[in-house]
Symmetry: C2
Subunit: 312 residues, 2 copies
């Protein structure tokens, strides 16, 4: 399959229509309809051997996951997805079938989030990577990390730690032990609807990519206030504690440091009802600082470590 055949396949795969797309794949750039909404843009890369291993899922599943991780940043801003660009670096020896499956996975996720792929780039390289640029819109101010206030209640959507446990099982080649956890890693959900509901009322939000503790730390740093996290309130998926202990893993470390759950952590005025139906896990303090862990009695606990870092 030569370059033009590959590009023709990409064009056919991604030839979707949308009221917001003036010009899609096939020119030097894509064109989106302007309008009063502000434009929200983000980019995320998934590199084979760093963010995923090809044994950790089908190409289709891995590509959809990479796309979802990018869309999750729009969720954390309260934005509505509008379009995406997909930049692929692909080893020349990757078979045509695998290439098609990658693009099928991107198309799956693009359809799921109503975020059509309107352009991209295809290059040869030794190392496979998928870089997804997402473009969204907000009517009014976006939901940032930097406006959490003292006394805010801290919430999280869904549950924490499942993706990290699933990844651990994949690394042990033991996916069949607990497919539900493996699916938490393989098939995350970007919380677009929750982000949209939160945008007008939440003070701050971030998505959980590097680990809940580290990501909450970004809210603390950007907002200028410390936070208190009640570890006994953390929403762990059913069965996580038991399986984690069987595997010699600390359930709390999975939930706090694991990352890749792509849930939203957000802060709300403490009197508000949470429109995203999340779990209340702590509160913002009136001093500068980083997150601290407390038990139900209010006693401070030691931190289990830190989240994922690419360097150092």
């Amino acid at each position: 399959m030569d370059e033009f055949e590959r590009i023709t396949r990409l064009r056919q795969r991604f030839a979707g229509a949308s009221a917001h797309v003036v010009l899609g794949i096939g020119d030097d750039a894509a064109v989106l309809r302007g309008g009063p909404s502000d434009v929200v843009i983000s980019v995320d890369s998934a590199v084979e051997g760093v963010h995923f291993d090809r044994a950790f899922g089908s190409w289709r599943v891995l590509a959809a996951r990479a796309f979802t991780a990018a869309v999750s940043d729009l969720a954390a801003m309260g934005a509505t997805p509008r379009a995406a660009l997909s930049s692929l670096i692909v080893p020349r020896e990757l078979e045509a079938g695998a290439f098609d499956e990658l693009n099928a996975g991107l198309a799956d996720a693009a359809a799921r989030y109503a975020c059509p792929i309107v352009g991209g780039n295809l290059a040869a390289g030794r190392e496979l990577s998928l870089t997804t640029t997402v473009i969204g819109a907000v009517d009014g101010p976006a939901l940032t990390r930097s406006a959490a206030r003292p006394g805010d209640a801290i919430y999280v959507t869904g549950s924490l730690g499942g993706a990290a446990l699933g990844l651990h099982l994949l690394q042990l080649s033991a996916a069949e032990t607990a497919p539900a956890f493996v699916e938490r890693w393989q098939k995350p959900c970007a919380r677009i609807a929750e982000g949209q509901r939160l945008r007008a009322v939440a003070h701050a939000a971030i998505d959980v990519s590097d680990g809940a503790l580290q990501d909450l730390g970004h809210i603390c740093e950007a907002s200028g206030f410390a936070a208190e996290l009640e570890v006994e309130r953390l929403p762990l998926p059913d069965g996580l504690r038991e399986l984690a202990r069987e595997l010699g893993q600390d359930p709390l470390a999975l939930a706090l440091l694991g990352g890749e759950d792509y849930e939203l952590i957000y802060t709300l005025p403490s009197t508000l009802v949470d429109p995203a139906a999340g779990t209340r896990i702590g509160r913002m303090l009136d001093v500068p600082g980083t997150p601290v862990l407390i038990d139900a009695a209010g006693k401070t606990l030691a931190l289990p470590g830190r989240g994922y870092r690419h360097f150092g």
Copy 2:
């Protein structure tokens, strides 16, 4: 230098202000001011060992070049640059000094094109790559590849073949032979002003990245008409013919197949004066097909080959 130090340096480097940027680096996504203009978006990757070799220029020059290649797609649409996202995949062993130089080069190009870097992504990988997403604006229809018409005159800005000859010298480790050609490869110019002037009057445009013949072929394919290219009209830089022959290279092949000149090829109604001060090199025909080469007498010449392809 750990990940957060690296990201802090990126934030400091790219903390520029612009009337169009509501929110820059430091959140889950960046926010650009909405407005009546349509949004033009494109992405381009430069992979070490594929698009460049680290011996072919300083990190600063190589990074500015990668950024410019992305901006060039905005030029080809007649768009005004608004903002960029920079997604870097960097080997862990790359020294801090090299990392800083890469970002200095990105900042140079961002300043040159008034296209501030408002976000991005940093990941570890075995293979160094720079993926740049550019966002621009057009007031009115963008300049596409697909509306060239029979009888249109075909023009090109600047000159062709210099970048390919410069790359050839770099590959021979003979840059000192002719630094001016080497600079044509190292320091291309995205033709933003020319694209803007052409947008309202040109029928079609493309930037020369893969080779003039191949890129004109894209106009032919998208527009549905063949083109006639007068090879004796091709604007070659001074001294190219002589040096090419000395090196055993075909000057015509350099100009037609070399690519990476980042000039614009465009078509205009034959009665118009070219607002971009380019060189007239041919005309669109009234039959479907690909570009054909002719000499001054109108005799058809054989094609010297084809442009760069990543696969096959």
